[in-house]
């Protein structure tokens, strides 16, 4: 009874720093579980579909002519799409292509900023855009802008490195 009264007075008066933390943490829980988790699940399903349907190979093929415009081999497109799905996966693809000699060290460095720009974007569409509540029509606009910026970064890196 006394504790309850004390708590009520304290809440009205001033919150303890621990209480502020817990209130904030509760917001974090809500964001993580009600918004981030369903979006991550969706992204993983999309990735699974792309992997199983060989959709990735088709997209990578499409990138080949674009990559040659920037003085890069077609394999650079595979690396970029690998990163687009997930950072870890992209790194694996990049290292594999390097070992096979399909990309050289110079290509990797030129590609590096672009890989971070579009890296894990398919997940981030859910983890950033959907969580923040971006208007549906802006999802594709933002994705296209990322790819444009990615290619600008490739041009810049080709000029510097």
């Amino acid at each position: 009874m006394t504790t309850a009264t004390n708590n009520a007075t304290r809440a009205a008066d001033k919150k303890l720093i621990t209480e502020i933390f817990v209130d904030g943490a509760r917001k974090g829980w809500n964001a993580a579980i009600t918004s981030m988790m369903p979006n991550v699940v969706m992204a993983f399903v999309i990735i699974r579909i792309l992997e199983m349907s060989h959709g990735l190979d088709i997209i990578s093929k499409g990138f080949e002519p674009v990559m040659s415009l920037f003085g890069l081999p077609g394999a650079a497109g595979i690396m970029l799409i690998g990163y687009w799905l997930s950072m870890g996966g992209g790194l694996g693809v990049a290292l594999a292509l390097l070992t096979k000699g399909q990309l050289n060290a110079h290509d990797l460095v030129v590609m590096a900023p672009a890989c971070y720009i579009v890296g894990s974007n398919i997940q981030y569409l859910g983890r950033i855009l959907s969580v923040i509540g971006t208007e549906g029509r802006y999802h594709s606009v933002m994705q296209v802008i990322n790819f444009i910026t990615g290619f600008v970064s490739i041009a810049i890196m080709q000029a510097i490195v």
């Binding site: 993580a32 699974r48 290292l95 990797l108 900023p113 894990s120 923040i132 509540g133 990322n146 990615g150």
Partner: protein
């Protein structure tokens, strides 16, 4: 409904009224900058001032063992460990566990963010970053700490942005621009530390010294410039192709509020 739309449009005036520079605010702001920057990431005592160090990690579990056999006897048992997510997962189920591994970061960061904000750091961020963020990105300075959070973990940035929106500190146009800023090269610092170092080190090892440590800095700088470029490309897009953005979102908001009321 109408008043709701008005609040969305005029975030600047609302933040002017209760603004004050406080010493605690400045200290909290400096603390936040260091805390979320990852500069003090360490196992030493100063690690207590670093977000990722305090965020910690899940324990390891054994996922397989292999044995070395010599002369028909087992001489050594080697255990391979992973996090509780295991290895070889895929699809929705793997996504669920992956999301669980991210949740503690978001919960912890939002708790710390609440304290930092309570101490007045957001107001300091707003004043310090406003002259930089407003012309460069078209977003208010109050996004400063959130931007810092998003360099570390995109989920922290997204949750913080949601929070700013809920408290009407960002309008929809600013929110959209800020989202592009976070989306382009998302989670840059953490992603770069986790995968970039390996990539560049491997590249350096195969090449004849043309790739040096400056490459690492160069990649980061180019990425930051590109974040700004992407935000401004969206600004350009909105100015050219979506002139009615504000009106449309305001009416959409009004409809939603009306639906909620029903």
């Amino acid at each position: 409904m109408q008043s709701n739309g008005d609040v969305l449009m005029t975030t600047d005036s609302s933040s002017n009224s209760s603004s004050k520079w406080s010493l605690t605010g400045v200290i909290a702001f400096c603390f936040a900058c260091i805390f979320f920057s990852g500069l003090l990431q360490s196992k030493e005592w100063w690690g207590i001032f670093d977000f990722l160090t305090l965020a910690g990690n899940f324990g390891k579990v054994v996922h397989s063992v292999s044995t070395k056999v010599a002369d028909g006897h087992v001489v050594e048992v080697v255990a391979k460990t992973t996090s509780f997510r295991g290895s070889g997962g895929a699809g929705a189920t793997d996504g669920f566990l992956f999301a669980l591994t991210l949740a503690p970061m978001v919960i912890f960061a939002m708790g710390v963010f609440a304290i930092i904000e309570h101490l007045g750091a957001l107001e300091v961020a707003r004043r310090l970053m406003e002259p930089l963020f407003r012309p460069l990105l078209g977003i208010p300075g109050i996004c400063g700490l959130t931007a810092l959070g998003s360099f570390q973990t995109v989920d922290v940035g997204a949750a913080m942005t949601n929070d700013l929106m809920a408290r009407k500190l960002l309008n929809r146009r600013e929110k959209t621009l800020f989202t592009q800023f976070q989306f382009c090269a998302g989670g840059l610092l953490t992603n770069f530390l986790m995968t970039g170092a390996v990539l560049l080190a491997t590249a350096a090892a195969t090449h004849d010294g043309t790739i040096t440590t400056t490459s690492i800095g160069l990649v980061l700088v180019v990425n930051f410039v590109m974040k700004i470029l992407a935000t401004n490309l969206l600004r350009l897009y909105m100015a050219l192709f979506d002139k009615t953005f504000d009106e449309r979102t305001a009416s959409m908001e009004a409809q939603l509020t009306a639906a909620d009321a029903r």
